[in-house]
Subunit: 140 residues, 2 copies
């Protein structure tokens, strides 16, 4: 399937980028790099892409498996290398589930299905980064 994204320069360090959702997004550099921080830093969008892709898999499985979850979040901690071109070489992704009736076994299964089978962004990250996926359960 073809996916198109068009990204237009708005002058200085600002850009406006399309997304298949129909919602455009703004990109800008920080002050330290000549920007005004009036948009997202582009490289970190890859981390939101990873968390969102895997998060959507898990949200979908929570619904399908009728699991009781009050809240969940995905925290990503990535190491950016020091020399150009700077890449994320180590990425820790931690799922945190909150609730009094968490089915830990099934939630772990949902995370595993995303990691091992469904999440295409994770498959792409595997090609350049060392990945560590963690699952944590919290009673509210």
């Amino acid at each position: 399937m073809a996916v198109q994204v068009s990204t237009k320069w708005l002058g200085e360090m600002r850009f406006e980028s399309t997304n298949p959702s129909g919602h455009n997004l703004f990109i800008d550099a920080g002050e330290e790099n000549g920007g005004k921080s009036e948009g997202y830093r582009p490289k970190a969008l890859m981390l939101s892409g990873l968390a969102g892709c895997s998060g959507l898999d898990v949200a979908s499985l929570i619904k399908k498996m009728k699991l009781k979850v009050d809240d969940f979040k995905v925290d990503i901690d990535a190491n950016l290398t020091d020399e150009h071109p700077k890449i994320y070489d180590k990425v820790t992704m931690a799922f945190h589930f909150y609730g009094d009736e968490l089915n830990e076994k099934k939630l772990q299964k949902a995370v595993d299905l995303s990691v091992e089978k469904y999440c295409g962004v994770m498959e792409m990250f595997r090609k350049f980064a060392e990945l560590d996926v963690q699952t944590h359960f919290h009673k509210k």
Copy 2:
């Protein structure tokens, strides 16, 4: 350098994700996947990350090299594979520069510097996709 991004489930298929810029972003699935399209599709954020990363390099070099450019944009056309996990296996990135006084040689140099030296997102994409970078010049 450590980069952190936290992505919180908002119920259904919606998520709110942080960005080092301080601006949060919303993620949602399309209607065909149980969402309401009230946020960005996460996988395509990777393409905005790529265009933004390389676009920022070029914007910075346009300023540094004092080049005259009225407008420019970066169009990405990516092929998503059919089977899970779905990845971008072929990516065409086309720079389009607009203006009456374009220094084509120096603009090509700016693109080459980003592609070959600076753009970390491109370096990551190289590990999983076949990349084709094109440069087009347009008189206004």
